[in-house]
């Protein structure tokens, strides 16, 4: 039998569950959120542990902020079995302590380093590739479709950068939206919002045209290299990048 432990999908609950497993010396066969489809050989366990609010800061104190940063980024990834990778990573901390991140010959370590880097890289890309549109009433609105759940990371970035603006960032893959009110942002399900009636500001199309003009002009045709562009700006992101989705390439 596969013993599969279920948690509610939040980082807090995941740590809560892992703390329980480590304390009771249980090695799970898998850990998964509630969307798990059990098969015949699974023994699904939902412990429904009491909610501990300070679990994240306790983990920080014990495992150190660098390890918690790595683990959190892995949690944000869309990798299958990420919870199990996190579990084994933290389990190995008891043996290797602060040397753990250097033990790259352990699969759980090389995976945690690889995945967290991937998430960090994608978040960094979206700090650049995200495009806001201005709606009526001076609200900025952007849609993204990242592979990993980077909405919170980039919201922190825009909270500093556009601190005196109202903005919304929607992750269309996960159907979640980050809402910023000039003070704080919070992340909610898109079901809680009516996003159908959003109207663009009157000037918006004009500014978009200016940008596309600039984008097309800055290209040096003697240096044309589309495969290079594709490496840096993969096609999977294009539909949300104004100059790539809305670009009349024939004009060049």
């Amino acid at each position: 039998m596969n013993r599969v432990y279920i948690y509610n999908g939040s980082f807090n609950e995941l740590l809560n569950l892992i703390a329980y497993l480590l304390k009771n010396k249980i090695k799970p066969d898998n850990i998964h959120d509630e969307t798990y489809n059990a098969n015949l050989f699974d023994y699904v366990i939902n412990l429904d542990l009491p909610n501990k609010k300070d679990i994240i800061s306790k983990f920080h104190d014990y495992f150190g902020s660098y390890n918690m940063h790595l683990v959190y980024y892995v949690y944000l990834s869309s990798v299958q079995n990420k919870e199990l990778i996190i579990f084994y990573y933290l389990l190995n901390y008891f043996k290797y302590r602060e040397n753990l991140p250097k033990m790259r010959n352990l699969k759980c370590v090389s995976e945690v380093l690889r995945i967290s880097k991937q998430v960090g890289n994608e978040a960094h890309r979206f700090k650049g590739f995200l495009r806001f549109k201005e709606l009526k009433e001076h609200v900025l609105y952007a849609t993204i479709a990242p592979d990993n759940n980077v909405l919170e990371i980039i919201s922190c970035h825009f909270q500093k950068r556009l601190k005196n603006e109202y903005w919304l960032i929607k992750d269309e893959k996960r159907q979640i939206i980050s809402v910023y009110n000039k003070k704080n942002f919070y992340i909610a399900s898109t079901n809680d919002f009516n996003l159908k009636d959003l109207a663009l500001d009157d000037k918006e199309k004009e500014i978009e045209k200016l940008w596309v003009t600039f984008y097309n002009t800055i290209f040096i045709k003697e240096r044309k290299n589309e495969s290079c562009r594709m490496n840096f700006m993969p096609k999977k992101y294009w539909h949300n990048i104004l100059e790539m989705s809305d670009n009349d390439e024939e004009s060049y």
């Binding site: 790259r104 010959n105 690889r114 700090k127 950068r161 005196n164 002009t217 290079c228 562009r229």
Partner: protein
């Protein structure tokens, strides 16, 4: 003239400047209610043009009107092209509108020389002051200092921007005399010296850079790299950019080429990295007998092949400096190797996971005494052949291959 047309003229005139970086500044927006923007220390690329170059900054000229007549330049006085001049408010409006929508990381403002260097500088300062003080713009600004401008303007402009730079354009004064008769080398060095001596966290915090055109004059790679090395040492430059000469104009002093020397530019960038991050000196890479880089293999591999007696390096014991000499190992993977090898015995697979490019490094290393390929093949001819084949892939551009055929 419509704003869109102005933008397209003044972006077109600015696009031959290679600098796109937006890194090195920690600027935060001020406490004002309308303040916007900050700098990201690592820099952020916002888009990529069809030529694969990153777009980070709104790269424009204030004006393409110019009293100079530099032979290679699109904006030279003698060219019969449409001329335009932005007003300071126009530049601010475009910058703010683009920045709010996250199209750009900031502004790159350069200019043709209108009336006089001082007059042009005043125009740049007026525009950027407006952006910083009226619009409370805290994003990244890279401004070009105009050669020949007075110190008082250098002082003012540098206090408003993150990066200020002046382009040396050509590595020797004879080249400069030939192609840019109005530009004086001493004026560019004066700017660089001034920035070096005054730089602090409020004055040009992200440092200065410069640019050289490659292939417009007869200078060798050795001339170019020596110039770079001396500028890195003397003026503490952050970057030297190399820009393959693109034939825009005709003229008797200009070379007649159709294809920009992109592969040569690539080799110069690779060598530039070796100077800044790998502990190499120009004298290690080139000399009077070999004044140009091998187009077929990169400068580090080329150096390694000439110093094969120093190899193979034993990964489990060799120093940081030696690790950096191995083709396929860079500063990041070298650091990882050093951090890990104390704690466990590395395997070739571990090296791969750490980011070592084994198909290059294999020829130059042993690991725990083991050479990963047939040791009878440890000779320069065989290794060079394999490295060259490894670099040519089906995506290699036609013009590169054409350049390769010359050799």
């Amino acid at each position: 003239m419509e704003l869109k047309e102005k933008l397209s003229i003044l972006a077109d005139s600015a696009k031959y400047d290679a600098s796109c970086s937006s890194s090195g500044s920690k600027r935060q927006s001020n406490g004002n209610n309308g303040a916007i923007g900050n700098a990201h220390y690592a820099g952020i690329c916002h888009s990529f043009a069809k030529d694969g170059r990153c777009i980070s900054l709104l790269k424009i000229l204030m004006t393409n009107i110019c009293i100079f007549d530099c032979k290679y330049c699109l904006n030279r006085r003698s060219n019969n092209i449409k001329r335009a001049l932005f007003t300071p408010e126009e530049v601010c409006a475009i910058t703010m509108n683009f920045y709010r929508r996250n199209y750009i990381e900031g502004l790159f403002l350069s200019s043709g020389i209108i009336k006089s260097p001082d007059y042009t500088m005043e125009l740049l300062i007026k525009t950027i002051s407006l952006l910083r003080n009226k619009y409370h713009f805290g994003g990244y600004i890279h401004a070009k200092a105009i050669p020949g401008a007075s110190e008082v303007y250098l002082k003012k402009l540098g206090s408003l921007v993150d990066r200020m730079s002046a382009n040396i354009e050509l590595p020797t004064s004879s080249g400069l005399k030939l192609l840019a008769p109005n530009k004086k080398e001493g004026e560019v060095s004066k700017i660089m010296g001034y920035v070096r001596d005054n730089r602090n966290k409020n004055y040009v915090p992200a440092g200065q850079s410069t640019q050289m055109i490659i292939g417009a004059t007869k200078e060798t790679d050795l001339n170019i790299m020596q110039k770079s090395e001396s500028m890195y040492n003397n003026y503490k430059l952050k970057r030297v950019f190399y820009s393959a000469y693109i034939p825009i104009n005709n003229g008797k002093n200009l070379p007649s080429i159709n294809i920009p020397p992109l592969k040569r530019e690539n080799r110069l960038y690779q060598a530039d990295w070796l100077l800044r991050y790998y502990g190499f000196k120009v004298g290690d890479l080139l000399d009077e007998k070999h004044p140009n880089f091998n187009i077929l293999v990169d400068p580090k591999a080329s150096w390694s092949l000439q110093h094969l007696d120093e190899f193979p390096k034993e990964i489990s014991t060799c120093s940081m400096r030696d690790l950096l000499k191995v083709p396929g190992i860079g500063p990041t993977s070298a650091k990882r190797i050093i951090a890990s090898r104390k704690h466990f015995k590395l395997t070739f697979n571990d090296l791969k996971k750490m980011g070592v490019v084994l198909k290059r490094a294999n020829y130059f290393i042993t690991l725990n005494g083991r050479y990963n390929i047939d040791s009878s093949l440890f000779n320069a001819k065989f290794i060079e052949g394999n490295l060259v084949l490894g670099e040519i892939n089906p995506n290699t551009q036609v013009e590169h291959l054409e350049q390769l055929r010359l050799f």
